[in-house]
């Protein structure tokens, strides 16, 4: 099975395009097809959201996706089973979960990590688990060979060094203040943040997310870092097209993959 690092070694320019979808929106069957389609289009890493009732780091687009998935009755176990089906179809794209601390904690951190490894995932992103609280999660995940991705934000300043030194997989650079969602402009000095990470830890890739929707933004962010992450723009397409979202998402990620590969 491939690793998170492979996602950044996959392309000639060393840049990765990372796509996010919420599992179970609009249904787990459609999510399964979305993952396969995005992998076929060359998406380098997929973030699979496990729905949570109160996703406090998300803007309205992804909040709504979480609620749509939960309204279908989607559970953590259902998401694990769906990943198993994806891997069973021979899809080997690196994948990480993105969810909230309580989803993992209530399942049992060790039990969650074990099942996550069994179904063939590579790591996890927990936006409500900052550096100070990460040991409780990182250790059981590491015991299963899974990586806990750390985030840095425009407010992180002197915290970036410590976060980067202990980072696993990749560093998720939050481009802007606020929650997830499409933005017209990203005004943060991303280049400076990336430089602080690289100074502290030259081995860990940095990918930029929050607010990216256009190929131009993705190319610019990938040029300043090692990759671009897109979530809300994809979720909007899913919300717009429902069961018929696979082809529009496929077409969209194709342009984004292309933009990042030529960044």
């Amino acid at each position: 099975m491939s690793s998170i690092k492979d996602a950044f070694a996959h392309n000639d320019n060393g840049k990765a395009f990372i796509a996010f979808v919420t599992a179970g929106d609009p249904s787990l069957d459609v999510t399964e097809e979305l993952v396969i389609a995005m992998a076929e289009e060359g998406v380098d890493l997929i973030e699979l959201g496990i729905p949570f009732s109160d996703p406090t780091a998300e803007g309205t687009v992804i909040q709504d996706a979480n609620l749509r998935a939960l309204a279908q009755g989607v559970t953590t176990d259902d998401v694990f089973d769906m990943v198993e089906r994806v891997r069973g179809r021979g899809c080997s794209v690196p994948m990480v979960f993105m969810t909230y601390a309580n989803v993992v904690f209530s399942y049992g951190i060790e039990r969650f990590a074990k099942r996550e490894r069994q179904v063939g995932m590579q790591g996890i992103i927990l936006p409500d688990v900052p550096f100070e609280e990460k040991a409780e999660f990182a250790e059981p995940f590491a015991a299963e060979g899974l990586e806990l991705v750390s985030l840095i934000a425009p407010t992180s300043a002197e915290r970036i060094g410590a976060i980067a030194r202990e980072a696993q997989g990749f560093v998720y650079c939050v481009s802007s203040l606020g929650v997830t969602g499409v933005r017209n402009q990203i005004t943060t000095d991303i280049g400076a943040m990336v430089k602080l990470v690289r100074t502290a830890n030259p081995d860990v890739p940095v990918a930029v997310g929050f607010g990216i929707s256009t190929p131009e933004q993705a190319a610019r962010m990938a040029a300043l870092s090692d990759g671009a992450i897109v979530g809300s723009a994809i979720i909007k397409l899913i919300a717009q097209h429902g069961e018929g979202c696979v082809e529009p998402v496929r077409a969209y990620v194709r342009t984004m993959v292309e933009a990042v590969r030529t960044a």
Binding site: D54, R159, V174, L177
Partner: protein, 399 residues
């Protein structure tokens, strides 16, 4: 103090700082500022002056003679936080935090509110101190507490309705955290209860501890001895922790938190976290939460908008674990009956939140001896609830 939190705000296993990285420096900066000012004499002099000359402290410890005679057991004393300016205990914390925010150079306060009491208190402090104010309130609660919405707007605050999720307090908290990540530089999140990430549970506890500091001295003055029990309602738990704090070291004093059981703890329509929840991580803290087997936060219910919250502050979770405090469920029906009882018996209309504590006192006092005493904290006054209680009893008032 033995129950100061450990590093990063742990009360036993509870508490912590489970928040997005974007907010970490903001809470670190808040903790540093709080540590700098909490023992600063000019800060404390200014706060005491505001509490005494603006909010009307100290609040009375009133001997409820009629209630005591009627119940025929322990003497019942009411700690009258309902007599504070703005009508609830919330002002104690808000004046402290607003003053702290000003010292930190912040010009804007944001807050969540359930029943609207914390929102009104925050809007009041902002008006007094010349700060901008934005309050998030669930749309369901705006409906239940329309009067408080108007009060906040009258005080110059902006009130934004939150329709996400259940449209109640938990969603207002989530939305206020989201707004804080969006604008940190000039903005302080004036959190209304002993919850959220460290240092909020400690800061709010310290500002509310004035309740038990006064009550302990007042009961010693009145009775010459400590009370046998202290009762307070618990949503997030700020008036309860404030009522308990200076009695925690007094082992003979029972500390009893009264949770909102809604339609009963054997139904789904409840908000009794200690009695029905399990350990989890949400809104910045590890504590007990009402949730399903996959950790999805439960859509809790109570007639009281102020207690309609699926979690509880981490210090309460710890007091529960150690057995130092007890947490009992009180149903809507019991609370409404107590609301009516206190109005009729003592001429005091309590907030429906506080009526949960009164309800338990009605059960407890008759089981005790006449030489014993209990303190019941009346966290707020009930004017805001009159229309809703009338509706509960099948009358439709036109205000």
């Amino acid at each position: 103090m033995s129950n100061s939190p450990s590093s990063r705000g742990r009360f036993g296993i509870h508490g912590g700082q489970y928040i997005p990285e974007t907010l970490m420096n903001a809470v670190i900066e808040l903790e540093e500022a709080y540590n700098r000012y909490k023992d600063d004499s000019s800060f404390n002099a200014e706060l005491t002056d505001l509490l005494n000359n603006y909010a009307g402290r100290p609040s009375l410890l009133y001997f409820a003679a009629n209630m005591t005679a009627d119940l025929g057991g322990a003497k019942v004393y009411l700690k009258r936080e309902d007599l504070n300016h703005t009508g609830a205990h919330k002002i104690n914390n808000v004046l402290g935090q607003a003053l702290l925010a000003k010292r930190m150079g912040k010009t804007r306060l944001i807050a969540e509110t359930g029943a609207g009491q914390h929102g009104v208190a925050t809007a009041t402090a902002a008006a007094l101190m010349g700060m901008e104010c934005l309050v998030y309130m669930g749309v369901e609660d705006m409906e239940r507490q329309a009067l408080n919405v108007y009060r906040m707007r009258l005080l110059g605050a902006e009130v934004r309705g939150v329709s996400a999720g259940t449209g109640t307090l938990k969603d207002a908290v989530s939305e206020t955290f989201r707004e804080w990540t969006n604008r940190i530089d000039d903005t302080h999140y004036c959190l209304g209860s002993v919850m959220g990430p460290h240092p909020f549970p400690t800061i709010v506890r310290d500002f509310q501890a004035v309740i038990s500091r006064e009550a302990r001295a007042q009961i010693l003055e009145a009775e010459g001895r400590l009370p046998d029990a202290v009762l307070a309602c618990v949503g997030g738990g700020s008036n309860a922790i404030g009522s308990f704090y200076h009695f925690i070291g007094d082992e003979g004093v029972r500390l009893i938190g009264c949770e909102a059981a809604g339609r009963g703890i054997d139904t789904w329509e409840t908000a009794a976290t200690m009695n029905t929840g399990k350990l989890g991580i949400f809104h910045g803290m590890k504590s007990y939460f009402c949730q399903d087997e996959y950790g999805q936060i439960a859509p809790v219910y109570s007639i009281s908008a102020g207690l309609d919250y699926p979690g509880v502050g981490p210090e309460h979770a710890w007091l529960h674990d150690t057995g130092r405090a007890e947490y009992v469920p009180v149903t809507d029906e019991e609370a409404v009956s107590a609301f009516e009882y206190l109005s009729r018996t003592e001429g005091v209309i309590p907030a429906i939140e506080s009526a949960h504590a009164v309800a338990h006192a009605i059960k407890l006092a008759p089981t005790m001896r006449p030489d014993q005493s209990i303190i019941v904290t009346l966290s707020g006054r009930g004017d805001k609830d009159v229309a809703a209680i009338a509706r509960y009893r099948g009358e439709d008032l036109h205000e």
